[in-house]
Symmetry: C2
Subunit: 122 residues, 2 copies
């Protein structure tokens, strides 16, 4: 059986590759009632979440991951905690970010129920 | 009923005040089988967690909180995500950190089941 770290790593690679290539394609990764907190703003439901993510004011973005932590949660889910850097088109300096996901087991795979994103300002 | 944000704020104030004053007193805040990931190292059980926290090589520390996010989780718990700065004795520059807690409801209060801590290096 895959370890929490293995699952978290596979999730993280898939999530950020999809984010950087086509944010709209992230929708099936979110549960219908998932919650996103993005820089303190809350969005509930995968449509609202994708609406927010696709309206972010940049076309090109690259995530560079510094750390990925994973722990099992009480609901047989997985808490995934990522830190890294965002490189946005036109910006010379990468922005540091940290992000936590709570994943629920769903038919042999995992789906996002909670997503909290913060930039770590200097 | 208190909102997730109200609970998270009260928890956060209590947690970091206790951390900064007397780390050993954090033990009752952790569930018996809680997990801590500290800069990638894992500790399971509240005794192991307090062993790690009390052995950190500084006597005086101050947490300054920049943001606190909160979301309900599937298990009727609460995910609390904190970013801020650590001021450690003898250091001239604060260190940025981010930390996620998963709290479980426990007899009218909340107890930590998951704790993941990362410094955000420059």
């Amino acid at each position: 059986m895959a370890s929490p770290e293995d699952i978290a790593k596979a999730f993280q690679v898939h999530y950020y590759q999809t984010f950087d290539q086509n944010r709209a394609a992230l929708q099936p990764l979110y549960q219908d009632n998932a919650i996103l907190s993005f820089e303190g703003q809350k969005f509930q439901g995968h449509a609202a979440i994708i609406g927010k993510l696709t309206s972010l004011p940049f076309q090109k973005v690259q995530h560079h991951i510094s750390s990925t932590d994973a722990q099992p949660s009480l609901s047989n889910g997985l808490i995934v905690f990522v830190t890294g850097q965002l490189l946005i088109e036109g910006e010379t300096n990468p922005l540091k970010f940290s992000q936590v996901f709570h994943l629920a087991a769903a038919g042999g795979s995992f789906i996002i129920t909670n997503d909290i994103f913060r930039l770590n300002y200097a």
